[in-house]
Amino acid sequence: MLMLRLLSFGVMGAGGLAAAFTITQLPIPSLGAKAAPDLSARSLDLAKPRMFLSEEARQDAAKAELLPPDTRSVLNLPSRMRYGSWVWDDSDIAQGTLTIYVDLRRQLLSAFRGNHEIGTAVILYGTDTFSTPVGRFRVMAKMKTHRSSTYDAAMPYTLRLTSDGVSIHGSDVHGSRATHGCVGVPLDFARRLFSEAKVGTKVEIVRSKAPDLSQFG
């Protein structure tokens, strides 16, 4: 009897904890793409997974620094992405040059192949003290298993951008976290990015301007 009562209290407590965890942690997958840990391409489960941009839309997005100027299409993600979520869909895109676009304000990284967005992920970036540099870079080196000697931290799938160590690498992406200047992306996304990127791949890091959202609400 006593055990039953204890069990009942335990179930209630566990239920409360599970609910609290769900609220705070936010379930990760967006559109199911997160569930594909392998490197094979997986298309989005959408009727229209890709949105092609008109000339006007392209100019608007480029003006707000939300996209590179010559973007042709983006992934059609109708809902907000969460910390740790990412999407990769290159199913209809031919082989081409990879470019990486990072927006610190929106905490997003987008990978483009031939002016078409093939992947995007929520990122971590540097604190105010150790800020992530803004500008245009090229991948200086690729290191699959790297460990930061300065911070004694693992940096899997490192794409090095600067000589002082700023890189794009796999991280445990959660809210309330920041890096010492690197761009952290979810590990599986980092693996895909690493397999696509080459030494010399262009990387642009921007801090976009917040658009006037009143026109949408």
Partner: protein
Amino acid sequence: MNVKLAAANPKRRAAWRVASGLAIAASLVGVAEVTCGDDRFPGRPIGNVIALLEGRSPGERTGASVIKLKKKISINKIEESRQRVLGKVFPLAPPHVVPPEDLLTSTPLLDFTEFQYPPLTLDETIQGNSISSGAALYYVYPVGQSSGDNGGSPATNNGGSSGGGAGGSPIGGVPPLVPDVPAAVPEPEAWALMLLGSALCAAALRRDKSSRRRSFDADA
């Protein structure tokens, strides 16, 4: 009515509690799904690329939410801390135990003259020693210890060989054993055992209290 019956029966009450806990958890999870899975641009035409690109973002980072992911630690500090932890648990040195028969037949343990003294007879040494009478013994003193009344300045090596059947003394010949040092950090089993013990204590107290109440009721 069913609810009243359930409340009256303790077993059913517990079952109700389990069910209500699951229901609360399910409802909270559902609320979380509803509140967290929002779209900040509901009903927006998909053609608006600004809304699309802005809406996929988890939002701008706020200063209050920034916590450093990696703590800067110098390599020297890491080495120091490792050594400090390892210093608590050091491997045991293999005990240097010499069988008594070897002690009797082996040569003196040290050849340094400052540690060796003239052979003494059994009468002059520890009483009750199992070594046969007349056997020459060698005392080995720790460094710095005075020879005391055992007499005289250290003599030269008096042969000290095993030729005469004399041997080294076990006194000072066996180094002290290194004590077994427990692990520095409690293991998970220890934690589990402690929690189990606490739970049992609580259960016993509750049981005791309820049994006393029952006996009081019976007395009444």
